[in-house]
């Protein structure tokens, strides 16, 4: 597996050095592997922190900045950060207005954030509320699984909740907006290739040239099943069918349609996919209010994409349109 790295053990810390050098408006705590907004804690503002395994860039560090996250904790590749990091970030962004933890629903992430919230309660007076994202319809949400995974909706939630916090809303109000976003979003992904964790050095799973993996997550974990390689218009149906069956999108005022690249698929293919997605949505009577196309929540060099739909009302749309200035999302400023 060819990679632009030095030592596999140094990938995360060296990438953080690059982020610090490229984005002087951010502040990087290299010891705790935390990326902060340069002016954190922003006075009077609810602090938003997230974090997770590395390898999903630009998530989460690329979404730190005005109108989005106040801090992001970077774990090892595909491994949740540890509670010490979230605790440190919580203290670092609290201005007295409380801190929202945005957690993707993975067993490790949830446990480590839980321990961090317990420590924050025991060691500091910081008020912490956690919101968990679980939008992946590929996973059955039942007693027999760890529950649906948090994927594409996490990006949209960090933007929309970030805007709510930037307006000066309270912790309870920001958490409420965040939960509404999660409840109204659904995602589904597909892989054309696997990906290689630097420390492992070889692809996590084998995928023949003639097949694709449906229902993948963002950690190179295999999906639900494999099907023969198909044209993009069929792939769009594979992804949208379960999403449209899971939630009524046609009756919504509008949706944000998000075609996300998994890391190894070029933008030309993502736009081609977006065309197929928009065509199906039009036929299904779903009104697209806004779109987002690009690699925003990735799985290293995996080729493939995911589709996320989010039902939005006027308020969520205004928050989506509000100014944002981060390395990966930037408009209105």
């Amino acid at each position: 597996m060819k990679k632009l790295i030095n030592d596999p053990a140094d990938v995360v810390s060296e990438a953080l050095q690059g982020i610090a050098a490229a984005h002087p408006e951010l502040r990087v705590d290299h010891q705790h592997k935390i990326i902060y907004r340069g002016d954190a804690p922003a006075p009077g503002k609810v602090g938003l922190i997230s974090g997770g395994g590395s390898g999903h860039e630009p998530l989460h560090g690329g979404f730190v900045g005005v109108g989005m996250l106040d801090a992001a904790c970077a774990g090892e590749v595909f491994t949740s950060p540890v509670p010490d990091q979230m605790l440190e970030a919580t203290k670092g962004v609290d201005s007295g207005a409380g801190v929202l933890h945005i957690v993707k629903n993975y067993t490790g992430d949830v446990m480590n954030f839980d321990m961090a919230a317990e420590l924050a309660a025991a060691e500091t007076g910081v008020e912490v509320v956690s919101v968990v994202t679980d939008d992946d319809v590929a996973v059955k949400d039942s007693l027999y699984t760890a529950g649906r995974r948090g994927v594409g909706v996490t990006v949209l939630l960090e933007k929309i909740a970030g805007a709510a916090a930037e307006q000066g809303r309270s912790l309870v109000e920001v958490a409420d907006v965040a939960r509404r976003v999660n409840a109204n979003g659904r995602s589904m992904g597909i892989a054309l290739t696997s990906c290689a964790v630097p420390a492992a050095g070889k692809p996590t799973f084998e995928l023949p040239e003639t097949e694709m993996e449906i229902g993948i997550g963002i950690h190179g974990e295999p999906g639900r099943h494999r099907v023969p390689l198909a044209p993009a218009r069929d792939v769009a149906e594979y992804l949208l069918d379960p999403i449209l069956h899971d939630l009524d999108f046609a009756s919504a005022t509008g949706v944000i349609a998000f075609v996300n690249g998994m890391g190894g698929t070029p933008l030309i293919e993502l736009y081609l996919m977006y065309h197929e997605v928009a065509t199906i949505l039009d036929k299904a009577g779903v009104r697209v209010a806004r779109s987002l196309v690009g690699p925003y929540i990735t799985s290293l060099e995996m080729a493939g994409c995911s589709v996320t739909l989010l039902r939005v009302d006027d308020e969520l749309l205004r928050l989506w349109d509000a100014p944002v200035r981060t390395p990966a999302l930037r408009w209105g400023l």
Partner: protein, 229 residues
């Protein structure tokens, strides 16, 4: 009853486990690649290497301090699900052990039971979910069962009062190791219901659980290290 597991023996157990994890790092990662995300070997090895480094630089005065140091180091260095789960296991063991310089067999078994309960409360796993619980729980049961079966004998007057309990614990840890390994092997046929492997549904069947595999190493390390007492 004679004290069998002193701080030095606990230290040997942890170092033996670290050695076992390092020796089986590739295997743990391969097992995780099949049904998870290919990081269990690297994560556990990073954590246990940090644990050994922490133990090298300190001389814990009692069982609680040593086990707490192990738990805190794992929580702070492993990440993923294994960090909180193994970390909580040792932190609960520390609380159950108390600030004593040595544990007898029963007290050691009681501490392991407390650790197991910590894993359950943190991870919400049940028997048959295809997790580390499926190796740890049978091991703790076997340890308790063998020790209580041996207890009447050790209480009887004997010429060599210190040997009988040592043998009883050694035998109990051997049976615990067999139970852990049987439990680990039984995960192959299980359908995962917790953690990342649960996303695979039916496709998780036929693969040995990496967490159960490292948990079996933990029990085997106890048998190896404490038999040297």
């Amino acid at each position: 009853m004679t004290a069998l597991v002193d701080v030095e023996a606990l230290d040997r157990w942890i170092r033996e486990f670290a050695g076992q994890v390092a020796a089986h790092k590739e295997l743990l990662t391969q097992l995780d690649a099949a049904i998870g995300d290919a990081d269990h070997g690297a994560n556990m090895d990073r954590g246990m290497t940090a644990v050994v480094a922490a133990l090298d630089g300190s001389w814990p005065a009692n069982a609680a301090l040593l086990l707490k140091q192990v738990g805190m180091t794992l929580v702070s260095t492993v990440g993923g699900a294994s960090g909180p789960l193994y970390g909580t296991f040792f932190l609960r063991m520390a609380t159950a052990s108390g600030e004593v310089t040595a544990l007898d067999g029963q007290a050691f078994a009681k501490a392991l039971r407390a650790g197991l309960e910590g894993v359950v409360s943190r991870g919400k796993a049940e028997a048959g979910d295809k997790t580390m619980y499926d190796a740890l729980a049978p091991a703790v049961e076997a340890l308790e069962g063998t020790l209580s079966a041996a207890a009447p004998l050790t209480e009887a007057p004997t010429e060599a009062p210190t040997e009988a309990p040592t043998e009883a614990l050694t035998e109990a840890l051997r049976s615990a190791t067999r139970a852990a390994e049987d439990g680990r092997d039984a995960t192959i046929a299980m359908l995962a219901r917790k953690g990342r492997a649960s996303y695979l549904g039916e496709r998780s069947v036929g693969h040995q659980d990496p967490g159960a595999t490292s948990a079996a190493l933990l029990v085997a390390a106890a048998a190896t290290a404490l038999a040297q007492s």
